[in-house]
Amino acid sequence: MKIYINGESIDIDTQATITQALTRYLTSEQLSMSFAIACNGDFVEKSLYAHTLLNENDSIDVLFPIQGG
């Protein structure tokens, strides 16, 4: 099925979790970095990544720390 991560379309297995989708999309270096997740505009706690099943056309935002004013 198709989902979106940071606006990019990717194909993943049905019944995939957020953890599995992240493993497909992020580099191993990025997976070791600090980041936070929203799914369809709602915050998802880190502890729920492995248990949250994704649906067709779900949209995940993976956000990293950057400089800001």
Partner: protein, 268 residues
């Protein structure tokens, strides 16, 4: 100097500093250290898998904050609705391990003016969820009062639009907010261009100044950071010392008694 109170946390510096727009991470770090600030703002953004620069910046910011025994202040820059801002605040709380949030909800792309309606909605939601909200808002007295009534202990009206460096566009509004909200921690946020702008805000009795561009875009950001630290200290000391009342007419400073040559013929 007295300390700055952010939701009960006492800070030695009244300058809050942004981490963006510096010519290099090294300059950013040195400018933050030169400013003496203990609060550094930062943000969250998407990053594609090929990009790796963000992690270095994050490491530098962490090093700076640790070095000054300081605090991170994540913002919600780029959000245009209460829902977006609330989501980003929750993501920031998890990632940065802080319940402080510099709440920005932009209502106009041209001058990055905050949306007062969405800002109030987001503020109420976040306060109810245990956040310590530092709302970035316009210099509107009623909006600031509403934010205070909701439970914001810190309110951050702008001096002028973000990044303009125009200084205090409407000193009357800022003075009125200070006068009417004597118990709020008031921080001027955005639009500061020169150290004298920051000094002016502090002379009004503001509790602090938050800025980024004025330091980061200076020819010498590190020297400018030091200049702002001194200006803020000078403004605070001036306010505490009690500024004289302005008068409409001239009054001689030198005593006029026993003035020589007075009233002699043809004297100027």
């Amino acid at each position: 100097m007295m300390s700055l109170n952010i939701y009960g946390q006492q800070l030695n510096s009244r300058l809050l500093i942004g981490s963006a727009l510096y010519p290099s991470p090294e300059v950013m770090k040195n400018a933050i250290l030169a400013s003496g600030s203990q609060v550094v703002t930062l943000s969250l953004k998407r990053q594609n898998p090929q990009a790796g620069a963000g992690q270095k910046i994050w490491q530098y910011i962490q090093d700076c904050v640790a070095q000054v025994d300081g605090f991170l202040l994540p913002n919600t820059a780029g959000c245009k609705s209460a829902k977006e801002a609330v989501t980003l605040a929750k993501m920031s709380r998890e990632l940065f391990n802080t319940d402080w949030i510099k709440l920005e909800v932009i209502g106009d792309d041209y001058n990055l003016q905050p949306d007062p309606v969405e800002l109030l909605t987001a503020t109420e939601t976040l306060l109810n969820e245990g956040f310590k909200v530092l709302p970035y808002c316009t210099d509107d007295l009623v909006l600031c009062q509403r934010l205070y009534d909701l439970g914001c202990q810190v309110i951050m009206p702008w001096a002028s639009p973000i990044g303009t460096g125009k200084g205090l566009m409407n000193p009357y509004n800022l003075e009125t907010i200070r006068l009417r909200l004597p118990n709020a921690t008031l921080i001027v946020d955005a639009g500061i261009g020169k150290p004298s702008d920051a000094c002016q805000a502090m002379e009004m009795g503001y509790d602090g100044v938050l800025l980024n561009s004025a330091i980061a875009l200076a020819e010498n950001p590190v020297a400018m950071a030091n200049a702002f630290a001194m200006a803020i200290s000078a403004g605070e000391q001036g306010y505490m010392a009690g500024v004289m009342q302005e008068r409409q007419t001239a009054h001689p400073s030198t005593p006029t008694l026993e003035t020589p040559f007075w009233h002699q013929s043809g004297g100027a």
